[in-house]
Symmetry: C2
DNA sequence: CTGTTAGCGCTTTCAT
DNA sequence: ATGAAAGCGCTAACAG
C-alpha cells in the first residue's frame, strides 16, 4: 500500500498495466469476478492492493447509468423515532446491497428541498423522505421527478409515490381507551399545535374511544404551542393549580416530551401519579421508560417502518411493474407505572 | 416542467439545443453565470426549467476532478452529542458551500470502515469521522489515504489528520470538584468499562480533584459494564442496600444515562437527592434537565466541535500549506438540583 | 459569445 | 482472456 501523496489516484488502467492484463479484465474483476480465471483474478487483486486502488464511483455510475446509492432525507435526526427508522432502513439496504446516505433537514423545508435536489443531482437510485408536516407538492417532490421516492411517516401521494405510515388515529384511540379502562372518567388531551396532522389524528382517535366507552367520560382539550418538555411543564403547573374536582384523572399527552414535563410538574406539586392522575404519552421516546415514574406511551414500529419503506423503494427501482401503495402499520400500547391504577370501574 | 417518464434525463446538450446556444454556454451558465449576457443566461435558465434539467454531479465531479461533498461518518446517531456535532458541522458546511452527507456506523467498526470506503470511492472532498473507541489504524484510515480526514471527539493522528476533542480529564475534575465544593466528603465514581478512553480520563480528572482538595475526601471506584440506564439502576440499588455510613454522599456517574438510572433507584428507595446524596452525570443529554430532580452534568460543546472540525477539514482541502493540529475544547459544568446541597464545609 | 474538442474513469460491446 | 473503441455528461481550453 504505497502513498501517492498529491498524485492522481490509480485508475483501472494503471491496475491493468501493473498486473499485465487488459483494461477490460480489470473491469471484469470488479463486476464479474466469476468470469475470470482464479489466477488472473488474484493477479488483478494483488495489483489493486499494491497500488492502493480505490474504485471511482462517479465514473462507475456515470458509465453504467445506475448505481446502488439511496438517500434518506430526515426531518429531525434528534428524534428517536427517525433514528429508529434510519436503522431499519439501513439494515434492509445492506441486505439488498444498497448503500444508505443520510441528510438532516432539521425541520427546515428549504434544507429538505436542498437535500432532495442534492440526491437528485447525485443520481441516487432512490430516495427515502421523512417529510415535514408541510406541503411537499413544492419543489421537493417535483425535483425528484423520474426518481423513485418513498415517504416515511407520511402517506404516499396518489400515483406518485409509496408511503409508510402509522395509524395515528388508532394510537390515540388505544391511549384514551387504556386510560378509561384504568378507571379514568375525566380525560384531558394535551397537545398541539393542532395544525400538525399527527396531533389531530391522535385527538380524533381519543375522542372515538370516549364515544365508544360504555361509561360516561368527561373530555377536555388543551392545545399547546409545542410538543416539548417546557410546554408540558406549563400544562402540569396549570393543572396543579386547579381544585381536585376540576382536575382530570387521566391525561393523554400527544408526545412523550409533553407527558414528561407534565408529570414532572404534577409530581413536584405533590400530586401523585398514577394515584391522583394517570398519564400517558406518545412516541416511546427512550427517556419515558427511564422516568422516576415510568411513563406509559404509544410506540411506533420505527425499525419496521424503515425496513418496509426501503423494500417499497427497491421494488420501485427494480420492478418495472411496480405499483404505488401506502403501508399503514399499527402502533402499540406500552403500559408502564404512570397508568397503573386500581380499577375503579363502577359495577 | 414536463414529465420524461422512462426517458433519459436531459443533458446540458439538450438544454443548449433547446435554448439555441452552444453547449459551452450552458456549462458557463452553470459555473460562471456572470460571464454571460443576462439575456442569454435567462434564455438558458428558461430552457433548463422547461426541460426539467437536473445537473449530473457524477459527470460534473468526474470532469472537474473536484467536488463539494463532505462525508460524515457518525458512531452513534442516537447519541445527542453526535447529533449536536452534526448540526454544527452542517452549519459550517453550508457557509462554505459544501454539502454534508451523513452515515451511521452504529457502533460497528465494520460498518464504519464500509462507509469510509464508500465516501472514498465517491471522491468526496473530505471526511469527518466520529470514531469508535477502537483502533483506527486499520482499514479505516488507510482507505482514506490521500483524502483529508478530520477526527471528531478524538485526537488527531500524528502527521496524519486533525482532530477535535474535549478535555475529558478537565470534565472529570470539574464534576468531582463541584461535588466536593457542595460538601461531599465521600465520593463514588461510577462508570465503565474502563477500557473506554473517555471514562478513564474522566476518572483521572476526578482523582486529581480529590488530591487537590484541602479537605480529606474518601474515594471509591465502581466499574460498570456499560454506560446505560439499566447499569445505573443496578448501581443505585446496590448503594441503596448499604448502610448510611457506608454510602457515599456524592456520586459522579461517567454518563448521564448512568446517572439517571442511579438517581431513579435511589429515589425509589427513599433516599433523597441531593439531601442524602448528590449526583452528577456527564454529557448533558437532553433528558437530564427533564428529570424530576434535574441532574447536574458536564456539557460538551457539540455544535462548536462540529463547526471547528469542518473548518479544519476545509482548510486541509483548500490550503496547500495546511498543518495538522488537534483542537481541544473545554467542557462546561452544568449545575442543577441534583447537586444543590447546603454547604457543609467545615470551618 | 460560438463551435469544437480532449479528457475525467469507467462500462460495454466486438472481434480476435 | 485480449485489445480497441464508443459513450456516459460534464469541464476546460481553444480558435474564431
Amino acid at each position: 500500500m504505497k502513498r501517492h501523496s498529491g498524485a492522481r489516484q490509480p485508475s483501472i488502467g494503471d491496475v491493468a498495466r501493473h498486473a499485465g492484463v487488459a483494461l477490460g479484465t480489470v473491469s471484469n474483476a470488479l463486476n464479474n469476478p466469476d468470469k475470470l480465471a482464479p489466477s488472473t483474478l488474484h493477479k488483478v487483486q494483488a495489483a489493486m492492493e499494491e497500488l492502493g486502488f480505490v474504485r471511482n464511483r462517479l465514473a462507475t455510475s456515470l458509465a453504467a447509468g445506475t448505481g446502488d446509492l439511496i438517500g434518506f432525507v430526515i426531518v429531525d435526526i434528534g428524534n428517536s423515532l427517525f433514528v429508529d427508522i434510519a436503522r431499519g432502513a439501513e439494515h434492509a439496504a445492506k441486505e439488498q446491497d444498497f448503500k444508505l446516505m443520510l441528510a438532516n433537514s432539521d425541520v427546515d423545508l428549504e434544507r429538505q428541498d436542498a437535500y432532495l435536489k442534492l440526491f437528485d443531482e447525485s443520481r441516487v437510485s432512490g430516495v427515502l423522505l421523512a417529510p415535514l408536516d408541510a406541503p411537499l407538492d413544492g419543489a421537493g417532490i417535483v425535483r425528484s421527478h423520474g426518481r423513485p421516492v418513498v415517504l416515511v411517516n407520511w402517506p404516499g401521494q396518489e400515483n406518485e409515490s409509496c408511503g409508510v405510515t402509522v395509524d395515528e388515529e388508532l394510537g390515540g384511540y388505544l391511549a384514551a381507551k387504556h386510560l378509561i379502562e384504568q378507571g379514568c372518567r375525566s380525560l384531558l388531551f394535551a397537545g398541539g399545535p393542532l395544525g400538525l396532522t399527527a396531533v389531530r389524528e391522535r385527538l380524533i382517535g381519543a375522542q372515538r374511544a370516549i364515544r365508544e366507552s360504555d361509561v360516561p367520560v368527561r373530555f377536555e382539550l388543551l392545545e399547546t404551542e409545542r410538543l416539548t418538555v417546557p410546554a408540558g411543564l406549563e400544562v402540569g403547573r396549570a393543572l396543579a393549580r386547579r381544585s381536585t374536582s376540576e382536575r382530570p384523572d387521566g391525561i393523554f399527552a400527544a408526545a412523550d416530551a409533553l407527558a414528561a414535563g407534565c408529570a414532572q410538574a404534577l409530581l413536584f406539586a405533590g400530586i401523585s401519579i398514577p394515584g391522583d392522575v394517570a398519564i400517558i404519552g406518545y412516541d416511546d421516546n427512550h427517556f419515558t421508560a427511564d422516568h422516576v415514574v415510568p411513563i406509559s406511551t404509544v410506540g411506533q414500529p420505527g425499525p419496521e417502518m424503515g425496513r418496509i419503506a426501503l423494500e417499497l423503494l427497491i421494488d420501485e427501482i427494480r420492478n418495472p411493474r411496480h405499483r404505488h401503495k401506502t403501508v399503514t402499520l399499527q402502533p402499540a400500547l406500552i403500559t408502564r407505572a404512570s397508568t397503573a391504577r386500581v380499577q375503579e370501574r363502577t359495577v
